[in-house]
Symmetry: C2
Subunit: 192 residues, 2 copies
Amino acid sequence: MARSDSAGGSGGNSRLSVQDWVQAGFRILADDGLKALTIDRLCKRLGVTKGSFYWHFTDMKAYRNALVDTWAAVRDADRGDFDALSDIPPRERLSHMMTALVGPSHWMLERAMREWARSQDSVAAAVRSSDQRVLAAVRQVFLDDGFAPDEADMRANATFAAGIGVLHLAGSRPSSRAVDWREQFLDVMLRH
Amino acid sequence: MARSDSAGGSGGNSRLSVQDWVQAGFRILADDGLKALTIDRLCKRLGVTKGSFYWHFTDMKAYRNALVDTWAAVRDADRGDFDALSDIPPRERLSHMMTALVGPSHWMLERAMREWARSQDSVAAAVRSSDQRVLAAVRQVFLDDGFAPDEADMRANATFAAGIGVLHLAGSRPSSRAVDWREQFLDVMLRH
DNA sequence: ACCTGAACACCGTTCAAGT
DNA sequence: ACCTGAACACCGTTCAAGT
């Protein structure tokens, strides 16, 4: 096998960084799903052998943790965008958040993370702490809309749970019907 | 398929039925979770070799289908119990349904089914059709409570999605706090 | 009809050896 | 420091052969 030059990545350097492995993993997840994410496939994509993987990561568990950490950072960045929009009315803000949660690009990743969380405590902890931050932002919307703290808490949890439920129930990408549905649902949740 | 020898007892060198394999699978799932459900482990539990498994099932996929079919039958039986309670007030009926969905014994199984559904279309179809029946029962509650068909539809979907979300967000068994939360949530959903 | 036993492919993991 | 190459264990799958 002739070793193909580099992985088409940044700089075309022959040596790999942790981030190279992480990015390759994200691409595989998006292209072919959870089951396709195997060490062999990663190595083929990066043009190295398995030993290289085990120099960068102690095992598959550690590699998943690296993926989850990067995912959590991206998620936090998204949440930062919400904070920037804190001057627009609560109703619209909530609509934005729901769209982002169930939304297009994160869709596959969200599912993968939650799937790993079920069999790996370290992933579960990272997902939970990321969820907490999103929940706090949703709760703030209800507070801003004039609900008492307890009520805001309950409604934020309900809204978030429904979002996660939709994520798991959806067989495919959210349809336009789902968008209508979402708006009606938010009407109910924001009703005083 | 209706041949049931001395199932349940260990030690009988009698021949195995499909249901013997299914029941052994449920026990492994409940005891040690999804990852423990391997052909080797099933064989050790039943005291046979792998060849036996492959005489009863064409592959692991087919075996999972058998498990899902049995699960769907049990779920339908539960739903039958709801129908019997159609004379009690909507609010209480909904409370019962939510408790059963998120509830104790089916908990582990529900998750396993939905996990398989993600990577196997036949399982996804079975889960979806079972979900549809539950959804219809929830929708009926809202109709009985006086909501218009469209409203009932939307609220049933929201209630169900929230239930599934809670199922996936829960790290452990539902706490007593979760029960309070559930009642408050139902109050909002049933508010006219 | 129902099962054994041995084989094979695939994948995660290890490690001595190379640059 | 970073990677190769060969080995091993585990698990799903196949199949000829046994009862």
